[in-house]
Structures are given as C-alpha cells and as structure tokens.
Symmetry: C2
Subunit: 137 residues, 2 copies
C-alpha cells in the first residue's frame, strides 16, 4: 500500500470504530493482531472495543495527527468523553474528561497486526484534581 | 527534507540527548519550540532535559519504532532507568523501571518546533505494584 492508501484504510478503520460496526472489524484487524504485546486476534480485539464502549457510552475517536510510513501508522487520537465508573484505575464516575492517545500500528495484508498504545493518564489525573485547569479544555 | 533525511536528523537529535551535548541542542530544536502545548524555546527545552538527567542519572533514549512523514516524526522510545526520587508523581525512589514514550514531533527549518508526548505511566505503576510482573522486563 502507498502512504495515502494506508492513511485512507486507517481513516476507514476509525470510522468503523465510531460506528461500532463490529461485523466490519475483520476488514481492518488481522487474525493475528496483538495489542501492547498481548495476542488478541479479531475476537479479542472486538471484545476490548465493546468493553470500551460499554464503559464509556459516549466514546468517540478523533484523529488529531496522522503519520503514515508503510507498513506503519502513528496516530494521535483525542477523546472527550464521560467514563461511567472507574477508568484506568481512576475514580472518574461520570465526569467529563479530555485526553490523548498516542498509538502506533503495524499493518500486514492491509490489516492491523500490532498496536502499541499509550494513553495520557497523567492528563486525566490532572483534570480530576483541577477540574478547571489547562487540561480541562 | 526527505523522509530518510528527516529520520537521520531525528537519530542525530537522540544521540545529542544521550550525549547530553547541550551546546548542540540548538541544531535540532527550534527557537519557537513547544512541548505538550507549552512554549519552551531552546533554553526551556534544554532546562527540561537537564532536569530529566538530574532526576534520572542513568537516563538513556532508545528508539524502538520510528515513523517519518515530513514534516512529522513519530517515535516510540524505550527507557530502562532508575529515577532517584519521585517520578511522574510516583514513589520510584531508585527502583529500576522500564517504560515507553510515544511521541510526535513537527519539524520546521529542519528543527523540532512542536512535541506531543505521552509517557506510559500505567506501566510504571504496574511495575511498582508487581515488581516481577510482565511489565518488569
């Protein structure tokens, strides 16, 4: 795939997540997919996403920055959402939080086969401590 | 700059950090540099790095994954180090920790002008709780 084809596939993948279109997930996720070193496959990957949406009903993925260099994509995602209960071990309980995820993907056969994700937990902690602070935008 | 030139400049920047070669930092960091939204300039950027090395004497940057698409670079960095006291608000106090940083850079005039960094704080927390666990490698 060219860089622009890979970017286009990635944007379609994000649209699939935002539409919770789980029957289409197999178009984007490889059967050998790993997430942060853990082998999930398509069913495990889908299970992870379904849990995310169950815990965060207003979850939505917004691409802030996309860097593609086949077979890799790096994406900075932005979330503005209200986790219902605890999230990443933090007592969020329905408060609105804004945070980024910086995430790398390796593609194989035009599908995601490895994900290395880091979520900005420190930004969420800062918002819970100082709700009107600079991270609260 | 081409993709390979940009990657090469980025590797030289990381070598500059690992050598604590602060007089050369201005070759890589723009005078308008911002880090996670905060305007630092070269002197503020250098101050941040000098503090990092003061707090973590064995600090060393290792590139695990590099994705370049001019004017952007995305890098997954790996650290194995022993922060002397508290680190990211955690009671590390000389314990050895391993963690990743997923970080994006925007270049202008062949220099870093914006950085969006997320450090895997959750991995460090897990290691402090479970020193022999899967994150302790």
């Amino acid at each position: 795939m060219t860089k622009s084809e890979l970017s286009s596939v990635y944007r379609d993948y994000i649209a699939c997540l935002n539409g919770q279109d789980w029957p289409s997930l197999g178009r984007f996720v490889h059967e050998d997919a790993k997430h942060n070193g853990e082998r999930l496959g398509i069913s495990g990957y889908r299970g992870m996403l379904e849990r995310d949406f169950a815990e965060i009903p207003d979850l939505s993925f917004t691409i802030e920055l996309l860097v593609a260099d086949p077979p890799y994509v790096a994406s900075r995602l932005r979330f503005n959402c209200t986790p219902k209960e605890r999230f990443l071990g933090l007592d969020v309980y329905g408060r609105r939080v804004s945070f980024a995820e910086n995430v790398f993907y390796e593609f194989r056969d035009e599908k995601i086969v490895q994900v290395w994700s880091v979520i900005d937990k420190a930004a969420i902690e800062a918002q819970l401590l100082h709700p009107g602070g600079r991270y609260g935008d």
